[in-house]
Amino acid sequence: MAIDPADLQVSDVLVVGAGPAGAAAALAASSAGLSVTLLDEARQAGGQVYRALPAAFVVDDPKALGPEFLAGEALRSSLRASAVDCRFGRRVWLLRRDNDLGFVADAVADGRSERYAARALILCTGTTERSLPFAGSAQPGIIGLAAATILLKSQRILPGRRTVVAGAGPLLAAVAAGIVKGGGEVAAVVDLNSRLDWAKAGLGMLGRPDLLLRGAGWMRRIQAAGVPWLWRHTITAAEGDETGVTAVTVAPIDAAGHCTAGGGERRFEVDAVTVGHGLVPATEFLRALGARLEWNHGNDCWQPVKDTFGRTSIAGLYVAGDGAGVAGAAAAEVGGEIAALAAVDDLKPGAGRQITPALRRRQNAAARFGRASIGLTRVRSGLVAVMPARTIVCRCEDVSRGTLDEAFGEGARNIGQIKAWTRCGMGPCQGRMCGETLSALASLHGIARETFEPMVGRAPARPVEIGCLTGVPDYESIPLPPSLPSS
């Protein structure tokens, strides 16, 4: 690969992902006197939750942008004041172990290749949003709840003029309230959970009254705008034209996600839908490095095997934040600090601060809150069971549920067979969008989800232009064989 050895950047600790966990980890390791490099795809630190506004925007009233924006600003200013080597706008496409260097990261930045190495690697790569498809859900105008938060918080753009907000979990309230506050119209909130489900989750959240209060504020705003909140409902189908979605049909469901008998269907004309079914740890780099994963029965997803400090099954590799197990931004910050202190202790025993009981208590309270909200987003098998055969599961390759059912019916038992037989998961997203639905479908065919690995961690983890890796050849310098004399 066209990387000059002089361009190799070596530090003691490499942190990938500059959200709350990664930023806190980098700050903690750096204050212990270690050299730290912090990589992120975005141009500024903050991750998805503490997301910054584009640098070209001027913030007139920071307080009005909410507590998460302010927390992000505090994090960004701590990083600026620190010795952490922040390398943002870097797209890491390969992470591997190296006998001499420890861990090596290959990244591209503005079309150039770069290579970083460190003895300790702290992965803080966050989550992917789980999105269970329905008939017509791949159309333009239908976006994720996480996508909607990015549009609202960072781009300051409404998803549409009239939007249905659907799915499960606290993001429903955050997004619907954000749309209303931004002057948009929410046609309805379509929630998989019942009032009682929320009340039960709320009990687990009592340790963080500040966050509960915020949620209550969102609900008040949504109610005041007269938005109907449809408990235990789901979108069953979306209609659209050449340009994208034009309407959705919703229907009541039972606790397992099956549509209840007796109708109750409603139709909403909309130009946007934002829908999501919970967050799951992004595992592609862990898979690529060979770290052990385990099935989380609470959140129906894979997560890394780790000790209470964030040490994974691979020496020198640590995880923190939602990528280590979804628990929310507040827990991520403390988790990042703890993982960094563990890394410091492993590299230079005694150099760092002690992990105090107070720090642990803070982590536990925050994690309890995060876990309570996870209960709301577990996968309902009924939602998957009722998906019509024509529903697109793999967006990249246009593979429908019907095609996948056929492949499972003919005996496909693992992701390799599914890929070879249907092309599902072989597109540029590498199975990140369809993997969750695919493994839920597998379980309908008698394959336990905890035995079905929906994706393989392969480089490049993100699409990169081949020219960035090889350099652009100078065609003049390529020796050409003399052309044959024409006969």
């Binding site: 333009p140 996480a146 990015i150 781009q155 300051r156 994208g244 246009d398 997203c429």
Partner: protein, 100 residues
């Protein structure tokens, strides 16, 4: 009409083109967001002929890819949610069916 203009001021106005159509946007916006704000939801065609557009907004799904035409006329496939608008940017949508 979709832009929320309270509490912040956007960057200076910039104009870029997609499939020859001029789009007005503001510095700092992503191409995908600027196109959405201009009412352009469909950005490409899937292998089966279906419309596709912005979905994850964070560079993971690749549903929002467009072609960026550089000064030499070469095209680069980029996720439009990860590309910032800039004056004079030339883009082409992938709304053809490539028979793949």
């Amino acid at each position: 009409m979709l832009r929320i203009d309270t509490h912040i001021s956007r960057g200076p106005k910039v104009t870029f083109r997609i499939d020859g159509q001029a789009i007005t946007a503001y510095a700092g916006e992503s191409v995908a967001a600027a196109l959405l704000a201009s009412g352009l939801r469909r950005l490409r065609t899937s292998p089966g002929g279906g419309g596709r557009g912005l979905f994850c907004a964070m560079g993971v799904c690749q549903e929002c890819v467009v072609e960026m035409i550089d000064a030499a006329g070469a095209s680069h496939v980029v996720a439009s949610c990860q590309l910032e608008v800039s004056e004079g940017l030339e883009l082409r949508s992938r709304t053809f069916v490539d028979g793949h």
